[in-house]
């Protein structure tokens, strides 16, 4: 099932070669598969979308449940926790490049192989632009520029398709909530990955308050109650099978107008700090569940 493991000497040689610079890797673009390990989910998503299967990825079961797309081949090895990818295992795998997510600690990884930090969200930049740039930068390091171009083109096409399917939507603005407990909720605002998708498909975001660098904010129900009365709630989680269960678990929420009138759509878990694949997933799910004719209320 696994590729034959490199001997100790080969591993050391590979590290030395990788340490000498990445130009060999770029030249090796013609070779079937670059030896890349992913230390975070966002980077892994874009790697897979570029057609590169990482040697290893942390928390694989959780990735399949919460990130889902693109699907992960069986050959990928488990690397442990996202916060502490296993260094002994990484050393044995001898990758030529490690792709880490922005904000993670990279210094131990850099002792094994060069580290590329994948940052699809950057302060002061539109998420769509930042994601595009991050994708191109990662592809350039792997010599996959052509794949990146076609990935971006496919992304544009998917957004256009979703926009077309949603063009008949006459509902109110959307309130995007990924998690809720008691009378607090995690909502997504103006500088989130989702906002760009909403803009492209012609929908409005009901929540316009300040948000973190990742585009989300935690707010109380009193703030949600003050939103536009025609607001529709969109739940970005698959832990809630349908709107009725959600209400049963959170009786306080029944006081909100959009829940009283059952204007709730349940999507699924999406990696909110992922790149283009996350945006695609959001757009597709939104079109499937919101578009006229699919009045799916869970």
């Amino acid at each position: 099932m696994r590729a034959p493991r490199p001997s100790r000497r080969e591993a050391v040689a590979a590290i030395l070669a990788a340490g000498a610079g990445l130009h060999p890797a770029r030249n090796a673009a013609a070779a079937p598969m670059p030896r890349v390990a992913a230390a975070g989910w966002a980077g892994a998503q874009t790697l897979l979308a570029l057609g590169v299967v990482p040697l290893a990825l942390p928390e694989i079961a959780r990735y399949r449940a919460l990130v889902a797309e693109p699907p992960l081949p069986e050959s990928v090895q488990e690397l442990g926790l996202r916060s502490e990818p296993n260094l002994e295992l990484l050393t044995a795998l001898a990758p030529h490049l490690i792709v880490a997510d922005a904000g993670s600690v990279t210094s131990p990884l850099a002792r094994i192989a060069p580290v590329a930090t994948f940052a699809p969200l950057r302060p002061g930049r539109r998420p769509a632009e930042a994601a595009r740039e991050a994708t191109l930068a990662l592809a350039a390091r792997l010599g996959r520029d052509a794949e990146a171009q076609s990935l971006i083109a496919a992304h544009e096409a998917r957004l256009a398709g979703a926009a077309e399917r949603l063009s008949g939507d006459r509902g109110g603005p959307l309130c995007l909530v990924s998690d809720a407990f008691g009378n607090r909720a995690l909502v997504f605002g103006g500088n989130s990955l989702y906002q760009d998708v909403l803009d492209r498909v012609g929908l409005r975001n009901a929540f316009t308050g300040a948000t973190s660098a990742w585009g989300h904010a935690t707010v109380g129900l009193d703030q949600l109650a003050a939103l536009d009365p025609t607001t529709r709630l969109v739940l970005l989680t698959s832990r809630v099978p349908d709107a009725r269960t959600f209400l049963a678990l959170r009786p306080l929420w029944r006081t909100l107008p959009f829940l009283r009138e059952e204007r709730v759509t349940v999507l699924a878990d999406i990696l909110f700090y992922g790149g283009l694949p996350s945006a695609d997933r959001f757009a597709r799910l939104l079109a499937e569940r919101l578009a006229p004719g699919n009045a799916a209320r869970g």
Binding site: G80, L81, E88, S107, D179, F181, R184, T218
Partner: protein, 666 residues
């Protein structure tokens, strides 16, 4: 209600507490009126409270959010103040509040577990789940302390152990299921925002019943403040009275916690403030502590509402800690000796016949453990034993981790030993000094101010935080000969503020929280070879210097008077011991994070083994601490390969039950 008919003795016992409460309440009222005036003309306030016009959004908002929020703040503050006053009386300890008994930790662990494995349970209300968790934790504490008729010291110690243990289990859950627990963090930070009168209606009857029951118990509670001996002579069934009072206080605080999340510090600060202000009799404290708590929380919430809401709405629970800590520190110099505190040394343990032999065996065991940790592991190729020669292959990865665990364990254990001896208090552990919290705070601030702080930035920020706290302690303690009770209170205030900041960080939903969690749980993962070498050298130097304190540490537990009589300059001695403990706490915190359960556990076990002389105790604790963390680090990177569990966390999970068993046996 103020105690109108009471004739206070020599100096009015209620005047100053009343002034403080009045000042707090007036300030809060002014803020609330300002807030209301911005929302609604004064003429409509009555209507908005009693019969709001359902078509008027502004009136409805005031009726459903602004006014219930004030009511909930008052009720929660009063409940926590009352619960804290009762706990401090029953446990005769100024650090006691329901959280000291493991209530919050039990509640939050139960909620996390229910969210993961039985979300259906939450449908019946999280109050029930939180209450069940609180009482389970409390039963554990009682079970541990039962043999000593629930004596104050053993109760507090048991409470601390259960709290740490629940905390460790909860962190283990968050480490592996963080994505599913974000909701718990959103709730757990102590937000008071309301959406209707439901929460106030939930709290009011509970507070009323609790206040009534406590009023019935004033006499036995007063007697509980005396020595066990004196109270027993007066014919009071001690165990029963303690249990009854504690159950009331705990139910009350659990109800508050389950309604609005963790609001720390009010239960600790309100009774302490009124006691320091002169409410010396229990009856006065029971009246003024709830009023003070209510005013304190109302004022804090008013101040929180002044902060313009960014994406990180400030939870009131965090604000109480941040605001309350300086109030507490300012009041400390006024704390009268003996008002709140009685030192109660831990029960005597038979002395080991041959301490030298015990220590030699320990050192041998440690050497074996170090070898095993470097050579024996589960890896990509299954179990492997590298013997002596094959160690070199993985040394770049395992070496720094083993060195860090060894040095951190030894230093924290020595710090704990110093503090337990100096403060003559078995619950003194490195974190009560607040230095580790300061270091951790520095690192968290660095994490949130920069996108990805380098190791150097983290170390610098952590050092700055630790030194800031240390400086504060020095300034505060200097006036009072560094008396243990003040140091403990100052440390607890700092730790409370720290806990609040961590809660805020968790509630942001920031993806980097995972990194923060592993570091908070005591991980050696990020240590590089250079750091490990420097760390080992620092540990060696400190371990070499520490035995010079041995004579002092033999004398200090005998009491300040005795120490003075044999010619010690007590304030200077305390200062030196405290500085040594602070450095030995700060250095490992910077490298492996603030989880220092080892600093509580290792000195205890060393003492229970029978190492009584200070020098033996010190060396024994250092060896045990090193052994414990080395084994924990090895197990943490081996048993769930390729996943890893931070050493500090695993030491707590494994060592906790052993410590509990040791305590129960005695």
């Amino acid at each position: 209600m103020p105690p109108v008919g009471e004739r206070p003795e020599p100096r009015a016992g209620w005047q100053r507490p009343a002034l403080i409460v009045l000042a707090l309440a007036l300030a809060a009222l002014a803020l609330a009126l300002r807030d209301l005036a911005l929302r609604l003309p004064p003429g409509q306030w009555g209507a908005a409270l009693l019969a709001p016009d359902a078509t008027d959004t502004r009136q409805m908002l005031v009726h459903l959010t602004v006014m219930p929020r004030i009511a909930v703040a008052l009720l929660c503050g009063a409940g926590l103040g009352l619960a804290g006053a009762v706990c401090q009386q029953v446990l005769r300890n100024p650090l006691a509040e329901p959280t000291t008994l493991g209530i919050s930790a039990g509640a939050s662990l139960a909620l996390s577990a229910a969210t993961l494995w039985a979300p259906g349970l939450l449908a019946y209300g999280r109050e029930g789940v939180a209450l069940a968790g609180s009482f389970a934790a409390l039963l554990f504490v009682f079970g541990l302390a039962w043999r000593r008729a629930l004596s104050p010291v053993s109760l507090v110690l048991a409470g601390l152990i259960v709290t740490l243990y629940c905390g460790a289990l909860a962190s283990a859950l968050s480490l592996f299921h963080r994505d599913y627990l974000i909701g718990i963090y959103l709730w757990g930070a102590g937000f008071l925002s309301q959406q209707g009168w439901g929460v106030a209606a939930f709290l009011l009857p509970r507070l009323g019943v609790a206040a009534f029951l406590i009023a019935l118990m004033v006499r036995p509670l007063t007697l509980l403040g005396l020595d066990d001996e004196a109270a027993r002579n007066l014919g009071l069934g001690l165990t029963g009275a303690r249990l009854a009072a504690l159950v009331v206080a705990v139910s009350l605080s659990a109800a508050v916690t389950s309604a609005v999340g963790v609001i720390g510090f009010v239960g600790l600060a309100a009774p302490a403030i009124v006691a320091i202000a002169g409410a010396r009799r229990l009856r006065d404290r029971l009246v003024w502590a709830p009023l003070c708590g209510a005013a304190l929380l109302w004022l804090t919430d008013g101040l929180v509402l002044l902060i313009p809401t960014g994406y990180r709405e400030v939870p009131t629970g965090a604000a109480t800690a941040l605001l309350g800590a300086p109030v507490m520190l300012a009041l400390l110099p006024r704390l009268r000796k003996g008002v709140l505190w009685r030192a109660e040394p831990a029960a005597a343990v038979p002395r080991a016949a041959r301490p030298g032999l015990v220590l030699a065996a320990g050192a041998g065991l440690l050497a074996l453990a170090l070898w095993g940790a470097l050579a024996f592991a589960y890896g990509p190729r299954g179990w492997s034993w590298a013997g002596l020669t094959g160690i070199a292959e993985m040394l770049p990865w395992r070496g720094p981790r083993v060195a860090a665990a060894l040095a951190a364990g030894a230093m924290l254990a020595m710090a704990g030993m110093l503090l337990q001896r100096m403060m003559n208090n078995p619950m003194a552990s490195p974190e009560v000094l607040g230095v580790s919290s300061g270091a951790a705070l520095g690192v968290i601030v660095a994490l949130f101010l920069t996108e990805a702080p380098s190791r150097v930035v983290q170390l610098a920020a952590g050092t700055a935080g630790a030194f800031a706290v240390l400086l504060g302690i020095l300034v505060l303690g200097r006036r009072d000969a560094f008396s243990p009770e003040r140091l403990l209170l100052a440390g607890v205030a700092t730790s409370a503020a720290f806990g609040a900041i961590v809660a805020v960080a968790m509630a942001t939903g920031d993806p980097r929280v995972g990194t923060l969690l592993t570091w908070l749980a005591g991980s050696t993962y990020g240590v590089d070879p250079g750091e490990a070498a420097g760390f080992l050298a620092a540990a060696a130097i400190l371990a070499g210097l520490a035995p010079m304190l041995a004579r002092w540490l033999d004398i200090l537990p005998l009491g300040a008077a005795t120490a003075q009589a044999v010619g010690l300059h007590v304030p200077r001695v305390r200062l030196v011991v405290m500085l040594a403990a602070a450095v030995m706490t700060a250095v490992p915190t910077l490298v492996v994070g603030p989880l220092s359960f080892v600093g509580l556990m290792a000195p205890h076990i060393a003492r229970l083994i029978g190492l009584q002389r200070a020098l033996h105790h010190l060396v024994g604790a250092a060896i045990l601490g090193a052994l414990l963390l080395t084994l924990a680090d090895w197990a943490g990177r081996t048993i769930i390969f390729p996943y890893q569990m931070p050493a500090g966390l695993l030491a707590t999970v494994i060592g906790g039950p052993y410590l509990m068993w040791l305590l129960r046996r005695r």
